[in-house]
């Protein structure tokens, strides 16, 4: 394995690991704040227990997110020093705001976790809300820094020097809004469905459990709203990419030939030899319409992209299909949820629907990772689009494959431990809050 491949894989695994924790850490606080608000309003103890149970999970996920984030802030330099040498001064601003937001999040979390008996009730609730808001803000700011790599702005390169730096223009580049919106919604979809599925699993075992019923409904409501909105942000992002990064769009679609009235390709296996997509479903004119809002618009194909600027088509195409496929499925399930809830509220706890949700637990996160694969691999061979190639940014240090193996092993190990720990955590809920199992009897 060469240094470039090893560095890319290490970065991919570190980001892929961190993203899951970052998303859970910035989403569940909103569920928690909602549950606590319900408790403060109704006095129903189930909501207090739920808030406490979720907050324990959050504490663990936040800590793992914080340390894996610290790791990333160093890895940017350890793996891509040439990139950071130039980019540090340009996109450092969103990172400095992100640092602030993260700090506030940590402080608010401290108050929330340990302050149950030490601060007034509504202050406690408010601190939980702050955890969510600042978590979301730091997510948006980091994505803004990433979007700059796709849509570089706020500087000029003259004789190899990066001059006329404008950090504000760099941060608010053309891609930041669509990427940040799409990512924030994706985070709610993935976490919402995963949490709902988890509580659904326990409802299948114990169908009258008020605790899990409340948790299931809150999580799924958040997930559903985001799942229904996410096609809109996806559309904004796709139209933006069509104009700014035609190579990425062409790779996503495996769109080999430039044409007017281009068809949308669903599934299939891109064949590089014949420049066709085998076994795919073609929807006439749909790609032109989705990319440019016009049935006859011209969509640039891979034939117009120089060979040494072409992203890996196979990976990007598959990742894109996975993301869109899962996104559509979850939106559909969300609509079913709304329909059932409107028809007869008891139906949302029907065994079949719960089983479907259990099946969905990992799906949102798979889509999330696939989406990031589209963004990052679709930008290759560039680290800063059209400005700096990834191979020119990598560290001169040899032997990065060893640090990749160590990192990979460590993250797999941590994931296994965390999985086991969460299982213990959830099993313990039933012993710790007996009211969860016996609410009817106590009433």
């Amino acid at each position: 394995m060469d240094v470039l491949t090893a560095a890319r894989l290490q970065m991919a695994f570190s980001l892929g690991f961190h993203i899951i924790f970052a998303c859970i850490g910035m989403t569940i606080p909103f569920f928690m704040a909602y549950a606590e608000w319900k408790w403060l309003k109704t006095g129903d103890i189930v909501y207090k227990d739920l808030t406490k149970a979720w907050s324990k999970g959050i504490a663990i996920f936040f800590a793992v997110g914080a340390v894996s984030g610290t790791m990333l802030s160093f890895e940017l330099g350890l793996l891509w020093p040439e990139f950071m040498k130039h980019a540090g001064g340009i996109i450092g601003m969103p990172f400095s705001w992100e640092g602030t937001a993260f700090f506030i999040e940590a402080i608010a979390l401290g108050v929330f976790l340990y302050g149950w008996d030490r601060v007034p009730k509504w202050t406690h609730w408010f601190s939980g809300l702050i955890v969510g808001i600042s978590g979301l803000a730091s997510g948006i700011l980091v994505v803004a820094a990433n979007s700059w790599m796709n849509s570089p702005a706020g500087f000029e390169v003259i004789n190899g020097e990066y001059v006329n730096i404008d950090p504000l223009a760099a941060m608010f580049n053309d891609a930041w809004f669509s990427q940040a919106l799409h990512m924030s919604l994706a985070s709610f979809v993935a976490t919402g469905f995963a949490v709902a599925g988890l509580h659904g699993f326990y409802l299948l075992k114990n169908k009258d459990n008020e605790f899990h019923k409340a948790a299931f409904k809150i999580a799924l409501t958040f997930g559903t709203i985001a799942a229904i909105l996410i096609p809109i942000s996806g559309d904004i992002a796709a139209k933006d990419i069509a104009v700014r990064q035609p190579a990425k769009l062409a790779a996503m679609e495996a769109h080999y030939h430039t044409e007017k009235g281009a068809s949308l390709i669903l599934g299939g296996i891109p064949n590089h030899e014949t420049q066709t997509v085998d076994y795919a479903l073609h929807i006439p004119y749909a790609l032109s319409f989705l990319a440019h809002g016009d049935l006859n618009a011209e969509v640039i194909g891979l034939d117009q992209i120089p060979d040494d600027e072409e992203p890996p088509v196979l990976i990007v195409h598959f990742a894109f299909q996975i993301m869109v496929g899962i996104g559509s499925l979850l939106a559909l399930i969300g609509l079913v949820f709304l329909f059932l809830n409107w028809k007869n509220k008891a139906l949302i706890y029907h065994a079949l629907f719960l089983k479907i949700l259990v099946f969905c637990i990992p799906l949102g996160f798979i889509a999330l990772e696939a989406g990031w694969t589209v963004t990052e691999v679709g930008r290759q061979p560039w680290i800063i689009y059209k400005v700096m190639r990834t191979k020119d940014a990598v560290t001169p240090m040899p032997g990065i494959q060893y640090s990749f193996y160590i990192t990979l092993f460590m993250y797999l190990f941590l994931s296994a431990v965390l999985f086991w720990l969460m299982k213990r955590q959830i099993n313990a809920i039933h012993q710790e809050y007996p009211i969860i199992n016996n609410k009817e009897k106590i009433d």
Partner: protein, 330 residues
């Protein structure tokens, strides 16, 4: 603007040394004293644990935004110690959290104990090694040098490891003082008082070795410190505080000890900074990366300053609030 940024950077490093240091030190104390320290450590650091390590992130962000060449040079030349630090941060952080929030205590906790303890010590030592390498003057940016010269020699030497052990001892010392203020039982108080004294003696001994090695290896820091009156004054001040702190420990004036130790650590850092700054990295070819020649363009500093001003206005009152809730209440 530059002055303000450097001020915030210094504050971040100071608090990271105190609070992050207390945290690393807690693991080191556990390593040497075993399970009986676990409960007092939780009591002392758990509520503020999440916040302690934010200072490092703040410092890293300021460096890579405000001084990109320094961040880049360190990332390349000190790749190996920095990677070890990262592994340590991830492992000790997760082990501490997993152990703390686990639902019940059983045999599996043995693994968490040892991961937390060993990685606390290793991370602290390598933080010191990294600091030592910035002073040592063997950082080589010539791409034609061999692997040994570029990636090993800058940090793999007696001087850097002596700084590493010194830093680990400072952390352990801070932690023992921090826990001392939380201990209630007389037995505990006595135990951590003795520990704090032992760590302070070890600190003086290892500190002398650091200076000795600096002199022998012709580390530029040594002559710089010798010629700086502020450095002299600060180091002497830190030494004078030592007997004062011992007396306060014997009198069990815990709040006062915390302030005195914070001042002492601040003086040690000031003594270091007065000799070293504005140079941040001494290079092998005799050149330096300084706060002036490695600084980002004006526009970047302008926005960084705004972020830091607004950030400080948000962060410092919130931190005060957090500590008031958990640390200052009787």
């Amino acid at each position: 603007m530059l002055e303000f940024i450097v001020l915030v950077l210094s504050i971040a490093f100071f608090f990271y040394t105190l609070l992050g240091g207390a945290d690393f030190g807690a693991g080191i104390i556990e390593l040497f004293t075993g399970n009986k320290s676990i409960r007092p450590i939780y009591k002392a650091i758990a509520p503020v644990w999440e916040v302690n390590h934010m200072w490092l992130i703040l410092a890293v962000v300021i460096i890579f935004n405000g001084f990109p060449p320094i961040y880049t040079q360190m990332s390349i030349s000190l790749h190996i110690p920095l990677f070890i630090i990262l592994m340590g941060i991830v492992l000790r952080g997760t082990a501490f959290t997993f152990r703390h929030y686990d639902t019940h205590v059983d045999g599996t906790h043995v693994y968490y104990h040892w991961i937390f303890r060993i990685s606390s010590l290793v991370t602290a030592i390598f933080l010191g090694v990294t600091l030592g390498a910035m002073m040592y003057g063997k950082i080589d940016n010539d791409p034609s040098s061999n692997f040994q010269a570029q990636f090993i020699a800058p940090w793999f030497n007696y001087f850097c490891f002596s700084v590493g052990i010194f830093v680990a001892l400072i952390f352990a010392y801070i932690a023992s003082i921090f826990i001392l203020g939380e201990a209630i039982e007389a037995k505990q108080v006595k135990f951590y008082a003795v520990l704090a004294k032992r760590f302070s003696i070890s600190m003086i001994m290892v500190g002398s070795i650091v200076l000795f090695l600096a002199y022998f290896n012709e580390v530029p820091f040594f002559t710089l410190a010798l010629s700086s009156p502020i450095s002299w004054a600060a180091f002497i001040g830190a030494s004078i505080l030592l007997p004062v702190i011992w007396i306060a420990i014997n009198k069990q004036q815990f709040q006062r000890i915390r302030v005195l130790v914070a001042a002492q650590v601040g003086l040690i850092m000031l003594g270091w900074a007065a000799a070293q700054v504005p140079i941040l990295i001494h290079m092998k070819d005799g050149k330096h990366l300084t706060l002036y020649n490695a600084v980002a363009p004006k526009a970047t500093l302008y926005y960084l300053t705004i972020a830091l001003v607004v950030g400080s206005l948000l962060i410092f009152p919130s931190i005060y609030y957090l500590f008031r809730i958990f640390k200052f209440k009787p």
